[in-house]
Symmetry: C2
Subunit: 332 residues, 2 copies
DNA sequence: CTGTTAGCGCCTTCAC
DNA sequence: GTGAAGGCGCTAACAG
């Protein structure tokens, strides 16, 4: 391994001078700078981050913790985050928490151990507060994306959930639906609570039949929704809901599968809409009607915020609320 | 920041003893071990990787370099890789090369600088050889996934491209197609060369009309294929190709878009098949007929190989060839 | 503008 | 079983 000492020897300078060169110090004469740079090039010298980090320097390393990179929503967040990070010279550690606090907790510890400068996280839920406090204890800045956590103040990049629900509900109502069911995510995730609140408000405001517009709860994962769908269909036809609003793409897809399994036609027998695209290419084969959140921007802007924080430029907490776009498919 | 010195003081032992505890040395009495462990717990001590790394220890950090995490093929590779890495206590650095050698080169340097123990990479192409040699120079083990590189020997996790092409061609031929066009990836990527070779062999073997079965080349990216499609359609109908084999999902999707743009019906006017799912959920809304590669396994097995290499368990190079599965959609 | 000294947190080596 | 000394590669603080 080539070190600054090797460079120094060859260049007839002290290691400190080499250090100054690789850190772009301007307390150096142009001639020695050039000489040293040439030798660095020749010897393929690559600085050792561990050593740098040990003396208290920034590590230029950030951590991204999502629930599941396979969800296109988070895939795009990851890409946005990585693009911005790379642009600013940072590297990205990736973890999948699967919405499990314990896994998340392990990742947080590993992440601290690795000496990251900051963390961008879509927290598992409100119980993530302990993990986030751990970060605070180590003075590691973080931003929350997609979800906030009760009792935590930080920079936030969130979807405008009320606006998204309005978009989907308005669309369904325009198509004549009056009996709409919400299949929501878990109530320990902030965006599920917000989506539910918006849903209820609209049901009241629009005087929809809210006795037949109950709210079901599942998880934001690839899980069967057969039971919930069966329960919805157990209501006899004149009173049965005619449309389902799924709180995210995984739920939306599961609902479609459950409906198809028992021969229901979509949208004739049941309309389905959801948050977030289940597919990564927007305009290719749209089946589901969705409120598409600008996931890439979540990641890109979030990383910008995070690195500003790392550099100590920003003190007060910021909250960015990003709107969804309605993409009408065949499912409604 | 809590260090082994803090723990040592509180436990009335030397820092060395603490070090032994956190490294599960067995040269320690049960009683002191327990005492130290208790204090570690109390003080929320987290080891500093930078320090560990500096004294030459494993960093428990690996790097994954893909061309684009947004491609579901690589998304699933990433998930498989991260799962295996986490299982074995490793963390994952993620980078997107966009199939550009210079970007890749920067990531490789950053990755070395970060002190990774190993690298899993889908190389940009044959020119990646310099980047891989850089890794060798630093004695960092690596495995190649999805693509091999001429002149590089290493562990390999590859798709069985011949088998995949056979699958798709057999399917098309069974449906009566005799004039098939290949829209391939760039020839500096090994799998493109293999797919082309298999395609040609089958065209000859099956005595397909190979004067009208030319091969076009584009990139494995989300780029327009309008020009290529127009060229294909410029042939008059009795002689025009009736099916297109796209070498990956991005190309497949682009081709569909190009065809739709000019009002061609799929599959009536033109059948389309490709490698890899363009969607992350297999059984939801299948439009394209695809040869689906087991991407998750690429990542999972690849990471297993890599970490075995890191631990010095394996010496000879291994090559894992994974078969595709045919998923028939509406596009053919 | 350049060099010297000391130390970051941990582990290897060698004592005891 | 436990501890002391030294050093990994780098940079902050000081000196010249």
């Amino acid at each position: 391994m080539v070190t600054i000492y090797d460079i120094a020897k060859r260049a007839n300078v002290s290691p400190m001078t080499v250090s100054r060169v690789i850190n772009n110090s301007n307390l150096i004469s142009e001639s020695t700078r050039r000489r040293v740079e040439k030798i660095i090039e020749e010897m393929d010298y690559i600085p050792n981050k561990a050593a740098r980090n040990l003396v208290g320097k920034r590590n230029k390393l950030v951590s991204l913790i999502v629930t599941d990179i396979v969800n296109p929503f988070f895939t795009n967040i990851a890409r946005g985050a990585e693009d911005k990070a790379a642009e600013l010279g940072y590297q990205l550690l990736l973890s999948n928490s699967d919405e499990e606090v314990d896994k998340e907790s392990n990742y947080i510890r590993a992440t601290i151990s690795a000496g990251v400068d900051g963390v961008m996280i879509a927290p598992s839920g409100d119980i993530s507060i302990h993990n986030l406090n751990m970060l605070s204890k180590y003075k590691i800045p973080f931003v929350l994306v997609d979800r906030e956590v009760e009792g935590i103040t930080s920079d936030l990049i969130l979807g405008d959930n009320r606006q998204g629900v309005e978009l989907l509900m308005k669309h369904l109502i325009e198509r004549g639906h009056r009996r709409i069911v919400l299949i929501n995510g878990p109530d320990y995730v902030s965006n599920a609570r917000e989506r539910e609140k918006a849903f209820k408000d609209i049901v009241n405001r629009e005087k929809l039949e809210n006795n037949i517009s109950p709210i079901f709860q599942t998880r934001y994962k690839q899980e069967s929704t057969d039971d919930i769908v069966n329960e919805i269909l157990s209501v006899n036809v004149p009173h049965r809901a005619t449309a389902i609003l799924a709180a995210n793409n995984f739920i939306g897809v599961s609902v479609i599968k459950s409906l198809r399994k028992i021969g229901m036609r979509i949208p004739e027998d049941m309309a389905v809409v959801c948050f977030d695209n289940p597919e990564f290419i927007q305009d290719f084969n749209p089946f589901l009607t969705v409120a598409a959140q600008p996931a890439y921007d979540f990641g890109y802007i979030g990383m910008q915020y995070l690195i500003e924080r790392i550099n100590g430029k920003i003190i007060k907490n910021r909250k960015m609320l990003l709107p969804s776009k309605l993409l009408v498919g065949k499912s409604s």
